[in-house]
Symmetry: C3
Subunit: 602 residues, 3 copies
């Protein structure tokens, strides 16, 4: 029917929810949860990834679909499964985990060392002694753990297990359809899966964008800047709501223009398509109050329908203009799932240190200044960037020291922070003094790490006397070649350096030893941007959100206003064409809240 109507089709494989008959006939296809409970039929995202039964049927289903639709020209993309996620601790997983470990560590002795199992007498003598780290073993309430190394590897294993599921379906489709792109839909900075590893197996990357009503724009922008980098290519916005969600505690409507602005934000940061979930509000079950293009009223005469229609018309008019154009950035922020897991599994020094929040603390600075950022993997080609930011680079993996040193020696600027350079790939500490492998290039030695409860603060004093409140973590450090930019103002470590700068080869390393209030942090980062010669995408766009997508012979400036007041169009763009309207931008033109312009600069 869709083919007859000449639709482009993204065809999903329907393997994200175990059917009732399968759960009944093969109870083992359902998952065992963190509390050790084996589940029955219900909900979705419920299949054990290591269930041979699930694998058999998921593969068969993908295969049958591809056999039937693989040659249908309207099928423009395959969408495997849906929002992979969750974790299983069943007996099949237990066995598969042991095999995964054997492959990785080869010997029991290597495993004992990797996990430091001599601690608390945990030494194992046989692979069969290993059990999954849920609440019945090493797990602790709140997805915490008594043994970070084990839980870290279990997360890697689970991510790999699901990736194997993905590859299995992908390969099944490829047997019948040699070239239609294949993807699955990601979820922001979702903790459960190592998306960098996954992206390598995908033809293109897509994601589902459901910003909370109170999430800052920079948070969503950061997600786009991560998703785009996964394959270093334009991506697909697989899902967004035309208006409200239903599954949050509070689900306000998207205000007029908000959905449109959010859609262009995606384009601005690298999306090449915009899609929606859902077309029609379903008549019943879980998502009947989730936003839809067609409301329960079933009519075109709704605000939401009109807004979607307008966007569709605009995108149709835009045609292929911006497709394939590239977001180029001078700044890379290292985002790494192993760090994500290991940092948050760590017991101490503070429960307030969260990985994604830490990333956003730094990302926000660049976003506010319209400085383009890529959220890059640990093994990226650092040479492409002027500045690498590595907040809470807790785990420094094998080879990373060398690549970061090379980057700085060649003139790069590296910014790193407290809680960096602490552990290796298996969560064992680099002995000899923090920040371990970063110590030489940072030119500092961190003797102690103070963890301040929320009701305590300290302050940093810059060399010119200005001050900023700081807290959460305070490194007590000694200069080993670095220069102090700011020191602590209070407590027994008053006068010790809090922020430092070190020349290393042709480059510079900034080390930020404590979490400062924005004014303090912005000051240090501005200094580093000046050092590196990094500039905004547009210098005269105060308050507006601006990105640039480059084609071979021209650039598209996405100018968006997410502020409550109207803002003037940047003078530097006056006289250029807004390709959304075809009009030439004039001095004095304004963007109201949620207004968007796409300015062509040749």
């Amino acid at each position: 029917m869709l083919s007859r109507e000449n639709y482009d089709i993204v065809l999903a494989t329907s393997t994200a929810a175990v059917p009732a008959w399968m759960a009944k006939r093969y109870p083992e296809v359902e998952r065992t949860d963190f509390e050790g409970r084996h589940h029955k039929f219900g909900q979705r995202h419920n299949a054990c990834p290591n269930s041979p039964v699930y694998q058999k049927y998921a593969k068969a289903l993908a295969s049958k679909l591809a056999e039937r639709y693989g040659e249908n020209d309207h099928v423009t993309c395959w969408h495997i499964n849906n929002e992979y996620g969750g974790i299983c601790y069943c007996e099949n997983c237990e066995k598969a985990f042991r095999v995964w470990l054997q492959k990785k560590y080869k010997t029991v002795e290597a495993l004992n060392k990797a996990w430091n199992l001599e601690f608390w007498g945990h030494t194992i003598y046989d692979w069969d002694e290993i059990v999954p780290p849920n609440l019945l073993s090493e797990g602790q309430p709140g997805d915490r753990t008594a043994f970070a190394g084990i839980s870290l590897d279990y997360n890697r294993f689970n991510s790999d297990s699901m990736l194997e599921n993905y590859k299995m379906e992908r390969d099944a489709i490829r047997e019948f359809d040699p070239d239609t792109p294949i993807t699955t839909n990601f979820m922001e900075m979702f903790k459960g899966l190592d998306y960098f590893k996954w992206a390598k197996e995908m033809d293109l990357v897509s994601w589902d964008c459901y910003p909370a009503y109170n999430a800052p724009i920079s948070y969503t922008a950061m997600a786009h800047d991560l998703i785009r980098v996964l394959k270093d290519a334009p991506f697909m916005l697989m899902e967004q709501s035309p208006s409200q969600t239903n599954w949050r505690e509070y689900n306000p409507l998207k205000r007029p223009g908000q959905m449109r602005a959010q859609s262009y934000l995606a384009l601005a940061h690298g999306a090449d398509t915009i899609q929606f979930f859902q077309l029609r509000r379903s008549v019943g079950a879980s998502e009947k109050f989730h936003g839809a293009v067609i409301s329960h009223a079933g009519t075109e005469d709704t605000r939401v329908f009109r807004e979607v229609k307008q966007l569709g018309e605009e995108l149709e008019k835009l045609g292929n203009t911006t497709l394939g154009t590239r977001n180029e950035t001078e700044v890379g922020i290292i985002f790494d799932w192993d760090n994500f897991w290991a940092l948050e599994y760590s017991t101490g020094p503070t429960i307030d240190l969260k990985y994604v929040d830490s990333m956003h603390t730094y990302y926000r600075f660049f976003h506010e200044r319209n400085i383009g950022v890529s959220m890059i993997p640990w093994d990226a080609d650092f040479g492409k960037y002027k500045v690498i930011v590595a907040p809470v680079l807790y785990m420094v993996k094998e080879g990373m020291k060398e690549s970061l040193e090379a980057f700085v020696q060649n003139g790069g600027v590296l910014i790193t922070t407290y809680m960096s350079g602490i552990v290796n790939d298996t969560d064992n500490v680099y002995l000899g003094g923090y920040p371990g492998p970063l110590r030489e290039m940072a030119g500092v030695w961190v003797e102690e790490i103070d963890a301040l409860p929320p009701e305590w603060t300290n302050e940093v004093i810059f060399t010119d006397g200005t001050k900023a409140v700081c807290g959460m973590l305070c490194d007590l450090m000694h200069l080993e070649g670095a220069e102090s930019l700011a020191e602590y103002g209070r407590d027994f470590y008053a006068g010790m350096p809090a922020v430092t700068k070190n020349s290393y080869g042709q480059g510079t390393v900034y080390y930020i030893g404590t979490q400062m209030a924005e004014a303090g942090l912005d000051r240090v980062l501005a200094m580093a941007m000046q050092d590196a010669g990094v500039t905004p995408v547009l210098a005269d766009a105060d308050g507006l959100s601006v990105t640039c997508r480059k084609a071979e012979d021209c650039s598209y400036y996405f100018v968006m206003n997410f502020k409550d007041e109207a803002l003037d169009v940047p003078p530097s763009l006056v006289g250029k064409e807004d390709i959304l309207t075809g009009k030439i931008v004039e001095m004095g033109d304004q963007l109201a809240k949620y207004d968007v312009k796409i300015i062509l600069v040749q």
Copy 2:
């Protein structure tokens, strides 16, 4: 012994707690909980209602008791089980649920449609694929669900299962005792059981009244006005504490006079008896600190004993005077367990919408003005009322549209609100535009429902310019014949109607599209009362709580003071007799806090 002492006896059947020997011999009599854990012996209210073993022994016990005591004239009432409640998810219940569903839906196809199982690929092909919706399947923490339809039916099934237990004991007693009234004790607006359905099987209704120290009087009054309506007859106050409870977090004493005033509140709203739990404070175990007529001191010389004694003497003096008299009301508020369950199982649009709180929001208005209210079932004879209030009438069941329309067409005033007219009996949405079946008579179409987080508010502006804060939910609606009484003051829907009034036949429908602060709500409700010609039980009783119980040829006005200051007796009652004291009320008489008068008006 009690017979010899000439006591009236309410004899309970002792089936509310599985005995230890039974739990040991037949482990399946214990319940499986929401987390999927099968329980062992302990606590009470612990029997699986679908356990054949439990059924066999419960029936036998009731039967034996009736055989022995059925002809004892001192037994004035049978009390079956105790505070039925809780829910079981064991295998016996699973099987019984399937049978219950088959009986209700006949075919698997009908069931798939009722629960909209095509969503998330949940389609079933065989009854045996159905599993109970606890945390191992569709259940979610906090008694929430991924599939409202399933969980809704499971609640209905569980309520029915326990009702079968009740009926089984009742029938066993009836074999030996043909006429002594049989009841069980209810608990306020208890969520687990459909008391309207239960009441049909009971000879009289009784309940246990344990108001929290900080519960408003109107909350308890609402409970009485529900319990009385269950059988449209005077009820029994089976339990109340002479003073403190012990099982709440904080258990303050009842202040002098408070228990007496609460007892008369029950009488005022329709009780014909007042009883206590417990006679003696038990020496050990769970309730040893629960209030009792006889304290651990074991003496009559206590404040509490004296207060109970005084009440007893008063009631003895009162004799049969008020027995069987009727509370007549012009206002009915629809209370419905299916709505209770379905509304709170709904995923979205806000977690702040609670069923009983919503009822109380409206009930409070009437209680403050001494306007009599009945909390009525969805299938009540609406013709008996001038005003029907239907707050959050989320589920409009089969036939309800017609009966509400008939009510209004015949001159009635209907007041309904946001989140009404949304779904049918099985939680599937009425397509075509909210408020679905109520749309025509309300004369409005609700295009969108905004759900405001607690930190957001809007305001309504009445046509005369007065304003009231509003929030939680804001319907964005269009007039389809109705008149706007107030519109929104802010945000993108400023100027859209927030409260409307529609003439329909001889009557009127008020639609309240958002949750207003009291001043705003009271204004709308006062307007509606004026329209309907509804008046207070007594017009000159400001601050006092007044109800009226009518006999054939006279009326009893219950005048109570729950305020902190003393209040004048209503002038309209001067010259009448207070039957509690036999004195004639004089101008200038006052009621101190907790004072009560029962004034006879002929």
Copy 3:
């Protein structure tokens, strides 16, 4: 290696963590938790104390170690297991519990009476009907219970079971080593084990001292004063952190001097040794961020290392000077695990009443005034004290009434409070009027107990008109010979006595009927101290913490400053020697924050 280096060795038996091979081969060695989940390998403190397999191997391991090292002269102490704790609800425990109960109660009838099992129809007819009180039976979330008596006995049983484990290892060691002292390490006022009962089986008592960053000093001092009394002898500080912990939510560093001051606080209250956990920060696993003498830097050049070194040098210089000296006190506060358990298992009247907090409320008064306190068992020789304080003496065990009466009759001063004298050994109430066995000596009858929610308060008015806020619990009492010191100021019991004093024999009983603000409580306690002629260790040491340890012919005054400002040395100590420095104290000498002096007075 340690022997060659001439170290003194505290040798642990390594039985605190089940090894992986054992968990695999004998799954029953792991525990079943409060939620009924049987655990797999992981974490530590994980062995079921009633597992024959665990017992067999733990005994064998202790035995083998003793066989090998029992004659090693460097082994100065055996450390059995580690921080015994936790609770198991498995089938082995179930069976052992029944045996324990049979031994204690002899007959099923006695047990039914002890637990008041006729309540809720819980009567048992066979020992096999008893199941452990976890969440599947009598347990309730938050370690609460529906049947206090059962849960109380299960705690006693669990404490005894682990004590049997301890004794088994101890006896195994004794076969090879007849005289080296044997201990295990306690944890403050740890709820799980009856340390008074345990101490009887130990050669010396040791404990692990990890004060939270925001714990008042008096809280830690109270713990020392409990631990010392367990065997009425100097104790061992088995563990403390040289700096931060890692397992709390927030783990700030110990400030310079803080660890030293805490160490001397231990000595001041009766420690004879000071030790640390851990020597080296471990490279990986759970405690890699826990404080250590040697940091991950692996160098001696750290603040923490230097502070530990300084302390070590001081203690070496001190040598045996203070070893074996005694803390003598005139005040005893009764601390009792049965009361701890029973009070907190009680359902009502308020959840705010906590046992250890109640103890600290009273201890604080004495600590602030440098009045020495012993935290004594219920069966202590009361004759050694001038004052016995018995806060919330909820359970009055067999024989206690007599010993307390004898103490007072002989001239002692007893201070007791609300929620005292309520139940007997099995949590059954003493009928006849509160405070039961204490009523005669207190000269009061408590008719009712009001439990105030946090937002309510009352006030007490002393006979001279001064007032103090009070709340939580308010006893409504009648004088039966006692004199009222203060009465309630508000509510319906205004004018009733709130605090009383009664002469009994040669002595006096103070009864405090409500929880007063500090000013009010301090006033009553000061009165009692004057009555009893109790004086501070040092009268002129305002703000300083001072204790005294006595040798045969001299005294050592530990003078410590835990305040933020510097304080003058007490004039009474001028001219005496500070044995830490060898200097004579001069007028005008000050102690800065965390300064310590040990003054020799002959």
